[in-house]
């Protein structure tokens, strides 16, 4: 059974786009990452799943239950940590935790005490006096203390210091091992890369990729960094130079104009799949997803000091799902 399953889930705020035709499937027991920049629709998705807002179109189920008609049952199984946890003014932390437990009609005292201890949360303080990070901890305990089957976390680590972040993820991994499904929305990619098995990338309200984190990171794209003797234009008498200018007729120069996808100088010979081209004084760096032989053939003709071919990290891949947007015309 899917922990979360959405079909064509769409939400418009009046005319403003929230999410469009989102098809998402999260298996029970997964540690699932949900990546996207601010305003991409991460929070909209979460708020729709939790019934805070109603979908414009499409359906979604959580543990097989419909998000509209069986909302209350879903909420009983879920723990939610909002990105900005806010509580009732004037209440003490322990009263908030008690209120949350009472609203769930469960006795969470043991688990609550253990979580507060691990997160070093002082329950006798008033919530209004707490720092952002400490308020976050209250939210974490509220989301976790009733041992939910599904944890939905919206940018959980903002405001937490690195030590607390480590402890927090340790708790999450423990819970995940016990069978809890974790749905982690974040724009901190290292967090997702370290913890999640699978991840979905959302952009402008649409799902642009959904795969295992390894597969997402292991697209055949490589980060290629070349250092060497480069000039802006073909140096007289030095046809071997790595030429960053326009398409040379000599074919000797390593021509980045041909590597880039823009302009009339696109090299149909096959060096497509070049993205994120960065030119510095002594070299170039780009993501390459084309045929590696063609690249080496080109490179062979150039004088090179150093070359580094590495797997891109998720961050770079992620950036490229967004870089597409710049070429793809208008954002929706």
């Amino acid at each position: 059974m899917y922990a979360i399953h959405t079909e064509q889930l769409t939400k418009y705020y009046g005319k403003a786009r929230g999410i469009i035709d989102l098809d998402l499937a999260v298996e029970e027991g997964e540690f699932f990452g949900f990546i996207g920049p601010n305003g991409a629709g991460k929070s909209t998705t979460i708020r729709t799943l939790l019934g805070l807002i109603g979908p414009t179109k499409g359906t979604a189920q959580v543990f097989g239950r419909d998000i509209v008609s069986e909302k209350t049952a879903i909420l009983a199984d879920a723990g939610y940590l909002p990105s900005e946890a806010t509580f009732y003014g004037g209440m003490k932390v322990r009263d908030i935790l008690k209120l949350s437990a009472n609203l769930r009609k469960t006795d969470c005292r043991a688990e609550s005490a253990s979580l507060c201890d691990r997160l070093q949360l002082d329950t006798s303080r008033k919530v209004d006096e707490l720092s952002f990070g400490n308020r976050k901890k209250v939210g974490i305990v509220c989301a976790l203390q009733h041992m939910p089957r599904l944890l939905i976390l919206d940018e959980p680590t903002s405001g937490l210091d690195p030590l607390m972040q480590r402890e927090f993820f340790k708790i999450l991994r423990e819970r995940n091992h016990q069978g809890t499904t974790v749905f982690l929305s974040s724009h901190v990619l290292s967090e997702i890369q370290r913890n999640c098995q699978r991840a979905a990338i959302i952009r402008d309200g649409r799902l642009v990729a959904c795969d295992s984190v390894d597969a997402l990171a292991k697209t055949n794209a490589r980060r290629v960094t070349v250092r060497g003797d480069f000039v802006a234009k073909e140096r007289p008498g030095s046809g071997q130079a790595f030429d960053t200018a326009g398409l040379s007729t000599s074919g000797q120069a390593f021509d980045i104009a041909g590597l880039s996808t823009s302009g009339q100088a696109f090299d149909t010979a096959g060096l497509s799949g070049v993205r994120d081209l960065q030119i510095s004084e002594d070299g170039v760096s780009f993501l390459y997803s084309g045929d590696i032989n063609q690249l080496t053939a080109r490179l062979a003709k150039c004088r090179i000091d150093d070359i580094l071919v590495a797997e891109p990290d998720l961050e770079e891949i992620f950036l490229h799902y967004y870089a597409d947007d710049n070429e793809g015309g208008e954002p929706r």
């Binding site: 109603g54 909420l75 879920a78 909002p82 806010t86 509580f87 009732y88 003014g89 004037g90 509220c142």
Partner: protein, 261 residues
């Protein structure tokens, strides 16, 4: 009951302050009566000959020299305005504050249906109104006993009952309107209460504005009518209760499917 108890706890200080403030004015007013009675002749004539002003507060039909007449006008206004402001204010903010203070994300992601949230919040408001009215009634009766007057039980009870009904109606109407709000509510509540009060004054001054008694709940709290009839105008109250039911139904319908934030 968790939400209702939570609301009562959260609203306790406010309730205490409102009750003490209104009660203080009420008691002061009653304590002034013996002095007033001594100068009854002058005062009564003076109040009875101020034209529109006299009519506006129904002082033409009440004997200011008797405790009931005095109570219906002076204390009635304090009780009417104070109670109406409190009822409208608490009903207007109780739903909207969750979104304004961003606590809706906390409350509404617990396994409690929206319907239950609305019902418990409404119950909390009504219970607060009931507690306040009980306290004010006790303070009033106590202060009348303190100045050595015999307590006109029937008149006092009817006047207090009419204001309780008025507050319930205003609260339900404001509750319905506040379901549409994301912030504010305070101004709206106080505004509605104030407008209703002035509509009643206009109704008293102008004969052609008599239809306003079907609009403003102050129409059935008119002390002069209550005392002279010895009963409440059930017809007007029935109309008011229709408004109240509409308010509550609107609140349920709107808030149940509202997009939060």
């Amino acid at each position: 009951m968790t939400i209702m108890i939570h609301e009562l706890r959260q609203g306790f200080k406010g309730l205490l302050i409102w009750t003490l403030s209104i009660g203080f004015l009420l008691v002061i007013c009653v304590l002034m009566f013996p002095d007033m009675k001594d100068q009854m002749g002058d005062v009564s004539n003076m109040f009875a000959s101020m034209g529109s002003f006299t009519e506006a507060f129904s002082m033409d039909r009440l004997n200011f020299g008797t405790l009931t007449g005095f109570y219906a006008v002076e204390c009635g206004n304090i009780l009417g305005l104070g109670g109406a402001f409190f009822a409208a204010f608490s009903a207007s903010v109780i739903l909207a504050k969750e979104e304004k203070e961003h606590t809706a994300e906390f409350l509404l992601t617990h396994p409690v249906s929206r319907g239950r949230v609305i019902a418990e919040k409404l119950m909390a408001v009504l219970l607060q109104i009931l507690i306040m009215n009980l306290a004010l009634w006790l303070m009033s009766v106590g202060s009348i006993a303190a100045i050595g007057e015999t307590i006109p039980w029937k008149d006092i009870n009817l006047i207090h009952l009419s204001f309780l009904i008025l507050q319930v109606e205003l609260a339900c109407v404001c509750f319905g309107i506040s379901a549409f709000l994301r912030r504010g509510g305070v101004g709206l509540g106080l505004g509605i209460a104030g407008i209703m009060y002035f509509l009643n004054i206009i109704k008293n001054i102008s004969d052609s504005a008599d239809f306003l008694k079907y609009v403003t709940p102050f129409g059935y709290t008119e002390g002069a009518d209550i005392i002279s009839n010895g009963s409440l105008d059930m017809r007007l109250i029935a109309v008011g209760m229709v408004y109240a039911v509409i308010g509550v139904v609107v609140a349920f319908v709107k808030y149940s499917r509202k997009d939060i934030k």
